[in-house]
Subunit: 154 residues, 2 copies
Amino acid sequence: MVDADILFVKQVEEKIRQSNTVMYRHGRSILTGMGVSTPQFNALLTLQEFGSLTMGELCKHLFTACSTATDLADRMERAGLVERVRDTNDRRVVRMNLLPKGEEIVDAVISERCQFLREVLQEYPEEEQPKVLQFLQVLAERMESVDARGEVSS
Amino acid sequence: MVDADILFVKQVEEKIRQSNTVMYRHGRSILTGMGVSTPQFNALLTLQEFGSLTMGELCKHLFTACSTATDLADRMERAGLVERVRDTNDRRVVRMNLLPKGEEIVDAVISERCQFLREVLQEYPEEEQPKVLQFLQVLAERMESVDARGEVSS
C-alpha cells in the first residue's frame, strides 16, 4: 500500500469520526440538564435499539467490563430510566428494560440531532438531498457486510 | 415538516451513528488487551488531536463532569498513558500530555480501523472510491459550518 492510500483511508476514518462527533454535540444540553452521562446515554440508546437486554448482552454492546455496566445499570435504575426484571422463561436471567423516562430522553436527544441534521441537509441542493441518505445507506451496508465477513473468518 | 421528511432525517442520523459504531468495533481488542476503557480511549484520541490540554478543556471535549475526567486522568497517568505537567507560562495551570505509550495505543487502534475501512472501500468500484472521501469531507464540512452558526446564535 503506497503512502497516498494510507493517507486516503486515514482521512475516511477521520471524517466518519468527525461527522459523528459534531452530531453528538446536539442534544447534549438535554443530557447535562438531566444528569445523564455519555455512557448512560449510550446504554439507553442500545436498549431502545435492541429492546430488553440481559446484563451480559448490554456490556457486550457497550464494550465495557460487566462491573462497569452493572454500576451504570444501578445508577440508571435509581434515576428511573430503566428497570431490571426477571426473564419470564428463565427466572435466573435478569433483563433490563427501558422505562418511559429513559425513552423520553433518547427521543428528545435524537429529535435535537435531527433538527440539526435537517439544517445540514438544507446546505445541499434539493435534488442532492436524497443522495445523501442513499450514500450513507450504502456505506453502512458495506461496512456491516465487511464486518460480518471478518467475524466469520477470525 | 411532513412525516416523510422526519423519517428521512431520522434515517440520516441512524446511518451516521451506525457507520461510526461499526468502525468503532475495529481495534477494540487492542483496548481490551491493554485494559483501556472506552472513555479513556476517547480521552487519548482527543489529546492526540488537540495536543496538550488543561483538565477544563479535556472535560469540555469529552462532555464529562470534571470529577469524572479527573478520575479518568488519574487512571491514565498510573497506566503511563499520559502525564500532567505545569504550564511553563502559568504555573497554576496543569496540562495533560499524551505519552508515547498512549500514542502507540491510539495509532494501533486507528491502524486497525483503517485496515477495515480499506476493505470497505474495495467494495466500491475503483472510480467511485475518491467520491467516498469527497462525500464525507463535504458532509463533515457542512456539519461543522451549521454547528458553528448555531453556537453563534445561541
